[in-house]
Symmetry: C2
Subunit: 293 residues, 2 copies
């Protein structure tokens, strides 16, 4: 993967609105694996420098997504430990580590899904917001278990329509609502269930903007609000400022008026106090105290 | 106004998404005034029957809007009291009463706006949701008083764009957001301020869907949430079931999928406990106890 291919991959990653943080993290690792495999370098030092630069650039593309930071940091740490290797051996090691992390990330998601499905059980009416590949996998596994879905459009780009089409394929009875109707719809649901882009050290949730509103409404209506994500999505260092990505204002297709600033912040933060259950690949956590640090 | 003209007026009222409940109530009164003026009837009894039928039909068109019910009920009560009049005298009385109620409704809105403007004061950053003619009048009067606005698109029909264009004319600095961003934006506001379609007997608010979410976020962030509407919007009889109008699902322009029901409920209910101030033409009310029954 030469510089130009890498720049293209990075631009795609930055612009991607259709895939969640886990999926994009695995794509980053794949980009690094291919870089390690064939990026031009005269020796192992030059390769290591190039890979670490690319790693940093990929992390900076999507600052609201912890799994990119976490998985790439783990890969980088492994790279740093590989001293004294030939160029060829370093390439092989870096490729293997990336592929191994891709596998572990995928397995963590599958385990998380298995725990969620077991915990949810049969016949539930589940409200969610935004599109999450983890939630998709949960719905797929619940499709013969009398599950019903209530899903949002997810403005501005309406990724809820993609979710709706998958649920329709699986013949899951679904209601599609505007975000504005979340307060009405949550009262008829058994459970509000969302994925995550990032979990903060205190258990707070960074997810698509509007998630905080759903959590507030769920709490107000006495409906449980669960977060379902693998532990690669957790940020463990306290005190780091969380950057909430803002995307291009033109995505809203709103009129351009003098003195009017169109805002398109993609993420909001749901405080841990509004979350009634966390689910990850290791199990379920009902209180922050149970929640493994 | 013959039957066909009346049916047309009723269809327009039912389909109207651009005007608030006060404005539509005055249009209903105008329709009745024109009916009283020239609908064909052989005597005053027949005219009274016809007018009362039309009155009931207009009320049924927009069941979530109390001012239509209230103003038309008052007009009907007056009509009932006019016994023994000639056809001509009944026409004149019914027209006069309708015109008088239109005037009183307009004055009540203006007085409400005056109280709101005084209470808000200078230099405030105000977040609102949906389009309200009362709020429009408030912003117009605050335009030279360093006011800033944060407004929502208001899906599905984006009446927030109309609000944005008026605020731009008045050179009021404005941020336009998706409903999903209300939780983020409310934290930067001094005040959340909304109009009403209806106030329930306990002070709860029926307004455009999403208002409840804004109120929850305002409460969670410690931002005051005020409701500003004339007392014609209050329902006084307790125990009546509130019907929340659902409009045509095609307004969402969402894909039509098998097994997917697209919901388009226009109104939600914000409990009185989330409201920190009510403003009407008589003054301001900080607690339900102060709020004149």
């Amino acid at each position: 993967m030469d510089d130009q291919e890498f720049e293209t991959a990075m631009a795609e990653l930055t612009a991607d609105r259709k895939h969640g943080a886990s999926e994009l993290a695995r794509r980053c690792l794949d980009t690094l694996s291919r870089s390690a495999g064939n990026a031009s370098a005269k020796d192992s030092d030059e390769l290591a420098q190039l890979l670490k630069r690319r790693c940093d650039k990929l992390i900076a593309c999507r600052p609201s997504m912890a799994p990119i930071r976490n998985l790439l940091a783990e890969w980088c740490l492994d790279l740093d430990s590989r001293t004294g290797l030939s160029l060829r051996a370093l390439r092989a090691a870096a490729v293997n580590t990336a592929d191994d992390l891709i596998r572990r990330s995928g397995e963590a998601v599958q385990q998380t899904v298995a725990h969620a499905v077991e915990q949810i059980g049969d016949g539930k009416r589940i409200i969610t917001h935004s599109l999450s590949s983890t939630l998709l996998a949960v719905f797929e596994r619940l499709k013969d278990r009398k599950v019903q879905a209530v899903i949002t459009e997810s403005r501005p780009l309406n990724e809820g329509y993609l979710l709706a089409s998958r649920l329709a394929e699986w013949k899951i009875p679904t209601e599609l609502i505007t975000e504005a109707q979340m307060g009405l719809a949550v009262a008829q649901a058994d459970l509000a269930l969302v994925g995550a882009d990032t979990l903060l050290p205190d258990g707070s949730l960074v997810n698509k903007a509007g998630t905080y509103l759903l959590a507030l409404a769920a709490r107000d209506r006495g409906v449980p609000f669960w977060v379902c994500c693998e532990s690669f999505k957790r940020i463990r260092e306290r005190g780091r400022e969380m950057e909430l990505e803002e995307m291009d204002a033109t995505e809203l297709s709103a009129p351009d008026l003098p003195g009017t600033r169109i805002r398109n912040v993609y993420f909001d933060i749901t405080p841990a106090r509004l979350i009634s259950l966390w689910i990850d690949e290791k199990g379920i956590y009902q209180t922050l105290g149970d929640f493994e640090p």
